[in-house]
Structure formats: structure tokens, C-alpha cells
């Protein structure tokens, strides 16, 4: 009872803060199925124009891993009206910035432009959606570029193989088994027919969300959106969308990787429920109590008290069909890695057995509030959050209200969820040891 009052008190405290940063927006669908979200904010004369395609590595077919991401690179090659290599130059020469990224669940493109260039941004994105053009020279060059990206991020980096090993093991046999970067063999195998098919299946308005935030006039923006996007035909193919939840792990998996590293490291991944569930919100909060700040359980025990290592972190990697709660750390050179793992387990078990104090509960609510109010500082971030919330959770307004979902999680529920998921038989433990320890 006492706890409830405290959290009610907190909720009222933060109410005022939220009103201050409320994100107003409009959303609607075009006839071809394109979902549009508009947020007007005149504080800086810039605008973020973004398109989210609901396709990620989880939609790839077998033998074509890495394709969604590879395809993202090709989407800068141009169109009948934009010559090869001009896409980036047009944006840059008009004072804008652009980029794109591909995850397990989606591919996201954006331009941040001076606000008087909104029409240009719409034209560029509509060309990409309507008639992207890819020639073989572009394919071959970008194939090399993507392979360099893999070398840069994975093959040449200490612990760089962690993601592909962790997801490969924790989600074996499911749509999350292979990471977005893919494999070199599959990247080499991609053919022209694959591109045509992928484009006509996934890059259609009924699989896209156009999210715009910044210094816009809503009426004018709608007119232009109509002009540039409403003539794009709706996709006719069925969109393959794996929805089945990955099968349970079925027992603890422990693996050792010998890498070119100096400090032993450990990555522990617990299989958890998908984004947007109460259990996923609880896991976010558990990551906060375990590892956010130097007073957190793991940092205090492992870095400060036992001095077993230099880094310990935990986060809930939320995906559309499942999540992976990952705790990881780097040990000191003379630390026995098993002692490090034991110290993590001790804290996790403490959380499961003793729960958290009301003081700690208030603390994590404050930490989450701080993160929540900080995330909407830039129009580019707002455009992305609106699109993500719409696509994954069917409610763009979560940008304003999601914090309520955290507030409603009680300390007892946290303990319950920790006990349910942070179990050895539900996890993968990857030990990283220096090559010379082999």
C-alpha cells in the first residue's frame, strides 16, 4: 500500500513535466495504404523527412541473409529522375543530411533538411518508393561496401562477433537467428531477380510509414504528400511477415569464443517477450535497476566492490516477435571469468529473491523519466519514435504516454518477471577469452 501511494505521488509530480513536452501530431492513411504522420514544431527551421519500410532481416528468405541491409545501400543509387550517385549529392548540396539503417524488423530512411526544402525531401523519398533504379555496377560496388561494413563492425573488431553468435544461438531456427549484416557467402549470392522481387514485395506504400517532424505547414505538407505519394501504386504481392514467436530455448547454452582480445568478456542473453508487452516494460526496468548508473546492482558489486572488471551493462533488446535481455561485461585481465559470471548471477538472484526496495523503485522511475523526457530533443528523433510506435505497437501516441506503462509496473511485478525470465535454462552464455588462452 505504501508503495502504491509513493508511485501515485511520483506520477503527479511528473505530470507537469510531461505536459511541457507533449508531442502533437496528425496521422492518416493515403488510399494506397501509405501511413503518414506529421508533427509541427517551428523552433528551428529544419525538417526531418523519414520513411520506415516494415522489412528487416527477419523477412529475408533462406540463402539471402543480409539482403534487407544490402538493399538499403542500393536505395541510394537513384531513379529515372535521379542519376546514379546523385541522391546523396542533392541532399547535401541543399543543406541537408541523410542516412538509413536496417534492423531485424525494419528499414529506415531519413533526410534532415532546411525547412524550405520539404518538397525536395518528399520528392526524393517518393522517387525511392515509386521507381528506384539499380544497375549492376551499383550492385557490385555496394556489395563490396557492405562487405567492408561487415569487416569494420564485426570481423576486425574485438568482441565484434558477439551479435551474430548471440542471436545465432539464442534464436536458432527462428527469424532472428541471422543478424542484419548477413554472411559473406549470402552477400555474394544475391542476384538481379532478388532485387526486383524484394522491391516489388516490400517497398510499397502499404508497407511504409512516412513520418515528418519539424518546421512545416501541415496544410502545405499534406498537399505535397498527396502530389508525390498518392500516385504510387499499392503493392499487389503478399508481404511475408513472420509472426510466430521463436520456440523456447530449451536449456542453457554455454559457449566459449577465443578472440583477438586482451580482456575476458561475457555476454549473457535471456530470452524474453516481445516489445510493448508489460513483461517487456518490466525487463526494461530490470535493466535499469541492474545496470543504469554507478549505484546499480551490477556496477556496484562488480566494478566497485569486487573489482572484477571495468564494464558491466544490461539492456533489453526489444524486437517485434521476441526480446533478448542482454547482460555483458569485460573483466580485468587477472579475473577468472567464471567469478565474474557468478557475481552477475548473485545480483540477479538477489533481485529475484529479495525484490527491490521502495527507494530503488523510486530511483528507477526517476531514471526512466529522465530518459523519457530526454528522447524528444530533436525533430529527427521525434519522427523516428512516432514511426516506430505506430509500426510496432499500432499507437504513435505512445511517444507521449508510454511512460504510463512503466509507472504501472509495480515492484512486485518486477520481481515476478525477473524470476520468470532470468533463469539459467532460459539463457545463452558466451564467454570471450583471449586467443592465447586457448
Amino acid at each position: 500500500m505504501h508503495k502504491k501511494i509513493l508511485s501515485l505521488f511520483l506520477a503527479s509530480l511528473v505530470g507537469s513535466a510531461m505536459a511541457q513536452s507533449k508531442i502533437e501530431f496528425e496521422e492518416y492513411d493515403l488510399d494506397n495504404g501509405l501511413h503518414v504522420i506529421l508533427h509541427e514544431d517551428h523552433s528551428t527551421p529544419i525538417v526531418a523527412v523519414s520513411v520506415l519500410y516494415h522489412v528487416g532481416s527477419k523477412n529475408e528468405r533462406e540463402g539471402r541473409s543480409g539482403f534487407a541491409h544490402f538493399f538499403e545501400h542500393l536505395m541510394f543509387e537513384g531513379s529515372p529522375n535521379i542519376e546514379r550517385g546523385e541522391y546523396m549529392k542533392i541532399v547535401s548540396a541543399n543543406g541537408g543530411a541523410l542516412n538509413a539503417n536496417t534492423s531485424f524488423d525494419r528499414t529506415y530512411y531519413y533526410e534532415i533538411l532546411p525547412s524550405n526544402q520539404l518538397e525536395l525531401g518528399l520528392w526524393l523519398e517518393s522517387e525511392r518508393m515509386l521507381q528506384a533504379k539499380v544497375d549492376i555496377e551499383g550492385v557490385n560496388t555496394q556489395r563490396e561496401v557492405v562487405k567492408e561494413e561487415k569487416r569494420l563492425r564485426v570481423d576486425n573488431q574485438p568482441y565484434g562477433s558477439f551479435q551474430e553468435k548471440m542471436f545465432g544461438t539464442a534464436f536458432k531456427g527462428s527469424c532472428y537467428e541471422i543478424s542484419p549484416i548477413g554472411t559473406m557467402a549470402d552477400l555474394n549470392a544475391a542476384e538481379e531477380a532478388d532485387f526486383k522481387d524484394f522491391y516489388s514485395t516490400f517497398y510499397v506504400p502499404n508497407n511504409a510509414t512516412l513520418s515528418i517532424a519539424g518546421d512545416i505547414d501541415i496544410k502545405q505538407a499534406k498537399e505535397w504528400i498527396n502530389q508525390y505519394f498518392s500516385t504510387i501504386p499499392k503493392g499487389t504481392k503478399e508481404i511475408p511477415r513472420p509472426t510466430e514467436k521463436p520456440a523456447p530455448l530449451g536449456g542453457e547454452v554455454i559457449d566459449t569464443v577465443y578472440d583477438n582480445i586482451q580482456l575476458p568478456g561475457v555476454f549473457i542473453g535471456y530470452r524474453c517477450p516481445e516489445r510493448g508487452t508489460n513483461e517487456a516494460y518490466a525487463m526494461d526496468m530490470i535493466s535499469t535497476v541492474l545496470a543504469d548508473g554507478q549505484s546499480s546492482m551490477l556496477y556496484k558489486s562488480i566494478v566497485d566492490n569486487k573489482q572484477l572488471g571495468v564494464v558491466v551493462q544490461a539492456f533489453n533488446f526489444s524486437l517485434e516477435n521476441a526480446s533478448l535481455f542482454i547482460a555483458f561485461g569485460l573483466a580485468n585481465p587477472d579475473t577468472e571469468l567464471n567469478d565474474f559470471i557468478q557475481a552477475i548471477d548473485d545480483e540477479v538472484n538477489k533481485l529475484i529473491t529479495d525484490g527491490i526496495s521502495s527507494e530503488d523503485y523510486t530511483k528507477i522511475q526517476n531514471q526512466i523519466e529522465n530518459d523519457f523526457v530526454s528522447q524528444n530533443g530533436r525533430v529527427a528523433g521525434i519522427a523516428e519514435s512516432l514511426a516506430d510506435n505506430h509500426v510496432y505497437l499500432g499507437d504513435a501516441n505512445l511517444i507521449n504516454t508510454e511512460i504510463k506503462n512503466y509507472r504501472e509496473i509495480s515492484a512486485e511485478y518486477l520481481q515476478e518477471v525477473a524470476a520468470k525470465y532470468l533463469r539459467p535454462e532460459n539463457r545463452v552464455v558466451l564467454k570471450y577469452l583471449p586467443q592465447n588462452a586457448q
Binding site: 511541457q20 523552433s43 528551428t44 527551421p45 529544419i46 529522375n81 550517385g85 546523396m88 549529392k89 547535401s92 548540396a93 541543399n94 543543406g95 543530411a97 541523410l98 532546411p114 524550405n116 526544402q117 518538397e119 525536395l120 517518393s126 557490385n140 560496388t141 556489395r143 563490396e144 561496401v145 567492408e148 561494413e149 569487416r151 569494420l152 576486425n156 518546421d215 502530389q227 508525390y228 500516385t231 583477438n260 582480445i261 586482451q262 580482456l263 548508473g293 554507478q294 549505484s295 566497485d304 573489482q307 572488471g309 571495468v310 569485460l330 585481465p333 527507494e359 530511483k363 526517476n366 531514471q367 526512466i368 523519466e369 529522465n370 523526457v373 530526454s374 530533443g377 525533430v379 586467443q435
Partner: protein
């Protein structure tokens, strides 16, 4: 009817409205809006602390950033201690233990950290006072607890360990230490030894001597009224006492006269982290700044820079290639870098240099120049979305004494830059012929091809020069296969067997001797041998002959008949292509490793002939012998004698080295063949 017509008309209008979008025409911009530089308030406390406040209530947050201005600091054999001192401040005060600090900071969801001469705290604005009081406590009352010091030291050592395998850390260490030198504040490196040298007292002293409000700035940004900020800062920082801080000056780091290649070998690398650059003298506020920024934008400022467009978008060598520069009161830098796969490492360097040169010799086109200006103006506008940018402009004006309207006129100054200015800046700030080129990568794959850019030296993690690294010999390669490879490389056994005699005349220059010498060597089967050295004006200075039976030396020191061991030595020198005999009895061969010889990978073979040891190096690529080394007993003790072979040319199908460089102790002899003949019909009488 009228109604129907009207609605039809509307329909037509709307439809044609769509149809009228001509997609082949790029939309024109609406009129540009003015960029608002924002506002800030500034005032100075009695103790000298300058306060800058930028109010922005978009988010209910506030940040406090304290910067103590100081000259760069040379830490020498204790490198790492000032940042350790800074971190330590956050870990205990006279009022709070680290645990208490952690708890209080986290409880309000705030952030607090300290560096050598800076501190930063941020959080929800409703906790402004809690946040600044915590910050003031660590900034003004640090207690420097021994236990926390030991902990941080241990963490620093672990940090150093982890950097040893991180290619990007290795690259920045190598580039900085190469550019500025190990004895410069910007070039010195944290090492295990330097961290171990640090004492708690060093940290305390550093704090005492350098934290001073008189040269400090407090920058407040966020949802806070300037009046309230002022009140809080006066309350928590008003009593901070000012003092004198010593000035520090440094010499400019030396620039190389020509380009140099520096490598850290990392055998597991599948990419080379390449950086090319030089130091520059470019002060903040210099009129050249906007020109250099534009030049850099055109060259490698982003995705549309020439480096990215060429090396990534055209060649596919890398995920990203960029250039960079830094203006600095002491010494700045220009650099360009990319991570590229091993096999195109040298090609990437070629492209970098090509782009530098093109900027230096060809005017940029007007369109390209205007596009780059637009890009910078755009990013200027984008950055102003963050109130932190407004604050950093204000801070820079203070730190570098920039004119009042420095940022207001920035775009105007940028627009005035011409193509000629860009070319002049490229020539002034890029030393294309005297670059430091650093590579962290697999030397076995990349070193040979980098030699063309300048002499190669190798470094370890601590910035100390090492010799060329060695690499393991791949499975399947043996001493025997190396020797057979050599025989094949110089022509094959059959060709060698067909050689009945040979004569080579070489001109020799000897270190310390002004005049040219000439060396003639004759051989005839089975083992007739003659070598004669003549010097113009002196005649024959040395001659060694073996006529098949007896051996003799003659020359300036008189004549002598050779006997015993010396005779045997001469006999063996007369052997044709003696390496073929290595595989027969009497030799013990050990294939040790692959080493670099003059940037070329070579198999290192130890040859033991009845106790006479020598080391020979055979090119991995061509199979040819590159070098022979032996240690011999000289009059002044042991010296190393080496012979380098190069410029192999085919003579009647047999490869002969036209260039031989001999080094014996201090003496260097360079020999260049002027004539080489095979089977010219030498007679026995020629060996006298």
C-alpha cells in the same frame, strides 16, 4: 447539370493537379528562413568564474558544464595521471563517499562526471539545485580517497589492455605519437608503466595547482531562468578561491621532410586502419578557418566528399573515407582516414594522395564549391536545434577571444570563399609530399605495397619503434621448397647446368672512398674462380684466384698462396649456384619465419655449414634471394656482414642480381653490374 459540370471540373482540376507533378523536375526550395543564433546571458562572479546561460525550455532538463581553461599539459612518464585525477574527483568528497554520490546522483536520474579540468552534470530541471550542489561538491571538495585511487588505477590498466587489440585505438595512438612525437602533450601515450608511476599525491597536486575559477567557465543550458542559474552558481561556486596557474609552452613538433609510413602489425586484421596527415598551424578564429572547413568539406567532409565518393562509392574499398582537421592554439592537424580491406590498402593510399593533389592543382568547380557551402550552412542550421550549440558558440568566443559577431558573420565569410582560396588552402595545409601515413593492419599482407609511399618503420603499442615483424611460415612450405623455389626462380636446374662459365663486371662505390672501383668476377666449371678489384689510379687493389689446383691472393698487401681452410673457402666460392648444394650433405637448414626485407616478405632460412652460420632471405613472391647475413670475427670484435641482392636480370635465361649492396660493420659497398656474360668461352688461362 451545372452542378455536375462543376464537380467534373473540380475532378479534372484535382486529377490534373496530380498529373502536373513533373517528376523529372527537382522541386525548388521555398524562400529560406533566417537562421536564429539564439540568445545567451553571461556574467562573471567575483572570483573570476564566467557564467554562460542558454535558456531553452523545450525539454524539462538542465545541464551544467564547468570548463577550466588551461594550457596543454605534458605528463611525461606519468601519462594518464591528469585524467585519472579528474575521474577520482567524482569518487569521493569531504562530504560524501563514492557510494553516497552514486546513490544521490542516480536517485534523481541525473548524470555527473568529471575530467582533468572539467565537470558535467545534467538531469531533470526540477532537480536543478540538487544537481548543481552535487557538482559543486565534487569540483570543490574532492577527498581523493586512496581506495578509489587504487581502483581507478586498476581500471586504467585494464583499459590499456583492451586498447591493445582494438584497431581504432591502436590507430589513433600511432597517428598521434607519430604526428606530435612521444614527448609532446598531444603525442604522449598512456602505457602500463606510466599508469603504474602515478601516485595519489600527483593527483592531489594536479588538482591544487590547476583548478581555478579565474580561468573557468560555467555553461548552463536548459529549462532554467538565467536569474535562478546565477543565484545557484553564486551559492555553490561563489566561495571558490582563485589562484595563479603556471603557463606552459611547447615547441612545434618537427615535420618530416618527406612522407613516412608507420605500421603497427596486427596479424588478425582483415582491414587496415589507414590515416594520412600532417600538423598544421591554424589558430581558432584565424581567417583561414572557413576556407579550411570548406576545403575539408569538399575533400572528405561527409558522404558527398571526394574521398567518400571515390574510395567508397566508386571503388568499393571501404565503408567510409573522410578527412578532418583541427584548429588549435598550440598545434592543429589535418588528417584523412579509412578502414580498407588488406588487399587494397596501397590502392586506397594512392587514391587519397590523388585527391589531395587534385585539390592542390585544379580549381574546384563553382557548382561543387557552392554545394559545399550550402552543406555547411545547412549543418550550421541543424546544429542550432541543440541549445548546446548556442552555448558552445558562446564558450568558444570566450576561450579564443573571438569578435562579438564571429558566428553572426560566419555564413557571410563562408560565402565569400573562392575556388582560388580553396586551392591555396589545400597547398598550405596539406603536405602531400611530407605526410605521416599510419596503418594498423596485417603487415604480411600490406607492408610490401606501402613501401612506395615512403620508408616504413614499425611500432609497438607504446609507440616505440620495433624491427619489422615476423610471421609464421604457412603449412607446406619447407627449407627444401624454398631452395627449390630459388633454383627455379633463377632459371631452373637445366639452365643452370648448361652454364659452363660466367663473367660479371661491376662498378663499386665504397663508403669513404671518393673514387670508383671496378670488380670483375670470373667462374668456369668445375670451380675455377677469379675476382679482382681495381681502383682508378691505384690499379689492382685485391685479387683472388683459384685455377683448379692452387689458390692465391695478391694486391696492395702483397701476394700469398692460400692453403688449408682458406683454400677450401675459395673453392666453395667458385662453385656455380652454390645454393643447389644446400640440399646435399653437410648443410643443416632451418626455415625460421617470414620476415620483411626492405618491405618485401621473405622466408628466413638459417644455413649451418659445419658450424658456419648464416641467415638468408628468399622472397616469398619471386623466390629470389634478397639478403644474406652472417656474423664474423673482425679485428675489432664481431661484426655483421650482409649482402643485399636486387635488380635481377636475365642473362641467357639465368637471373643475375645487377645490384649488390655489401655492408660490413661501418663499411658500405654498393656494386652495380655493367656487364654480365654466360658461356662466353672463358679459358683456363683467364684464371691467373
Amino acid at each position: 447539370m451545372k452542378k455536375v459540370l462543376a464537380s467534373l471540373l473540380i475532378l479534372l482540376l484535382t486529377v490534373s493537379g496530380f498529373a502536373q507533378v513533373d517528376r523529372s523536375i527537382r522541386p525548388k526550395p521555398a524562400p529560406a528562413k533566417e537562421i536564429d543564433l539564439g540568445e545567451y546571458k553571461t556574467y562573471t562572479l567575483d572570483n573570476g568564474l564566467k557564467v554562460i546561460v542558454v535558456k531553452n525550455d523545450k525539454l524539462p532538463r538542465v545541464s551544467f558544464s564547468l570548463v577550466v581553461d588551461r594550457d596543454p599539459f605534458l605528463e611525461a612518464d606519468k601519462t594518464g595521471y591528469i585524467s585519472l585525477a579528474g575521474s577520482l574527483m567524482r569518487n569521493g568528497t569531504n562530504n560524501r563517499t563514492k557510494e553516497q554520490l552514486d546513490k544521490e546522483v542516480d536517485f534523481i536520474g541525473a548524470t555527473l562526471f568529471t575530467g582533468a579540468t572539467n565537470a558535467y552534470a545534467s538531469g531533470l530541471s526540477k532537480y536543478s539545485e540538487e544537481i548543481i550542489s552535487l557538482m559543486a561538491d565534487v569540483a570543490l571538495n574532492p577527498s581523493f580517497p586512496q581506495e578509489e585511487f587504487d581502483k581507478l588505477k586498476k581500471q586504467s590498466l585494464s583499459g590499456i589492455e583492451s586498447a591493445k587489440e582494438d584497431p581504432n585505438s591502436l590507430s589513433s595512438r600511432l597517428f598521434n605519437s607519430s604526428l606530435y612525437g612521444l614527448n609532446h602533450p598531444y603525442g604522449e601515450l598512456e602505457t602500463e608503466a606510466s599508469i603504474n608511476n602515478i601516485t595519489l599525491e600527483d593527483c592531489q597536486n594536479f588538482y591544487q595547482e590547476n583548478w581555478n575559477p579565474n580561468k573557468a567557465y560555467m555553461v548552463v543550458v536548459g529549462d532554467i531562468k538565467p536569474k535562478k542559474a546565477k543565484k545557484l552558481i553564486e551559492k555553490y561556486f561563489g566561495a571558490w578561491e582563485s589562484k595563479e596557474v603556471a603557463k606552459r609552452e611547447y615547441e612545434m613538433p618537427a615535420k618530416p621532410a618527406a612522407s613516412e609510413v608507420k605500421i603497427i602489425n596486427r596479424n588478425s586484421s582483415v582491414q587496415s586502419v589507414l590515416t594520412l596527415g600532417n600538423t598544421i598551424e591554424l589558430q581558432p578564429g584565424s581567417p583561414d578557418i572557413v576556407t579550411v572547413r570548406l576545403m575539408n568539406q569538399i575533400l572528405g567532409g561527409g558522404m558527398t566528399g571526394r574521398l567518400f565518393q571515390n574510395i567508397r562509392e566508386d571503388k568499393g574499398y571501404t565503408y567510409g573515407a573522410y578527412s578532418n582537421y583541427d584548429s588549435d592554439e598550440l598545434v592543429g592537424y589535418f588528417s584523412a582516414s579509412a578502414s580498407v580491406r588488406n588487399e587494397v590498402t596501397d590502392s586506397a593510399v594512392v587514391e587519397f594522395i590523388k585527391e589531395f593533389k587534385s585539390l592542390q592543382t585544379e580549381k574546384v568547380g563553382e557548382q561543387e564549391l557552392q554545394d559545399a557551402k550550402n552543406n555547411i550552412i545547412g549543418s550550421f542550421g541543424r546544429n542550432l536545434e541543440s541549445a548546446q550549440t548556442i552555448a558552445s558558440f558562446a564558450l568558444n568566443r570566450e576561450l579564443y577571444n573571438l569578435p562579438e559577431d564571429y558566428y553572426k558573420t560566419y555564413i557571410q565569410r563562408l560565402e565569400a570563399v573562392t575556388a582560388d582560396d580553396i586551392m591555396a588552402a589545400a597547398n598550405k595545409y596539406i603536405n602531400t609530399d611530407a605526410l605521416i601515413i599510419t596503418a594498423v593492419g596485417k603487415a604480411a599482407d600490406i607492408a610490401t605495397s606501402l613501401e612506395k609511399f615512403g620508408p616504413i618503420t614499425y611500432y609497438d603499442f607504446n609507440g616505440e619503434e620495433t624491427g619489422p615483424p615476423s610471421f609464421p611460415v604457412p603449412a607446406g612450405i619447407t627449407a627444401e621448397s624454398v631452395i627449390n623455389g630459388y633454383i627455379n626462380a633463377i632459371g631452373g636446374q637445366e639452365k643452370l647446368d648448361a652454364v659452363k662459365d660466367m663473367s660479371i663486371i661491376m662498378s663499386a662505390s665504397i663508403s669513404g672512398m671518393p673514387m670508383e672501383a671496378q670488380a670483375k668476377t670470373l667462374k668456369k666449371r668445375p670451380n675455377l674462380f677469379l675476382t679482382e678489384m681495381t681502383v682508378a689510379g691505384f690499379g689492382t687493389v685485391q685479387k683472388v684466384v683459384f685455377d683448379g689446383k692452387k689458390g692465391e691472393t695478391s694486391g696492395m698487401q702483397g701476394s700469398q698462396v692460400l692453403e688449408g681452410e682458406e683454400l677450401e673457402e675459395i673453392k666453395s666460392q667458385g662453385a656455380f649456384f652454390g645454393e643447389a648444394e644446400y640440399l646435399s650433405n653437410g648443410y643443416k637448414l632451418t626455415l625460421v619465419a617470414i620476415n620483411m626485407v626492405e618491405g618485401e616478405k621473405a622466408y628466413t632460412l638459417e644455413v649451418d655449414k659445419n658450424g658456419d652460420l648464416s641467415t638468408e632471405y628468399y622472397s616469398v613472391e619471386t623466390g629470389l634471394k634478397l639478403l644474406e647475413e652472417a656474423t664474423v670475427e673482425g679485428p675489432q670484435g664481431e661484426i655483421t656482414v650482409s649482402q643485399k641482392y636486387s635488380d635481377y636480370r636475365a642473362v641467357d635465361g639465368v637471373m643475375i642480381p645487377y645490384q649488390i649492396n655489401i655492408s660490413q660493420g661501418p663499411q658500405q659497398i654498393s656494386m652495380t653490374a655493367t656487364e654480365a656474360k654466360i658461356n662466353s668461352g672463358l679459358k683456363k688461362s683467364d684464371f691467373k
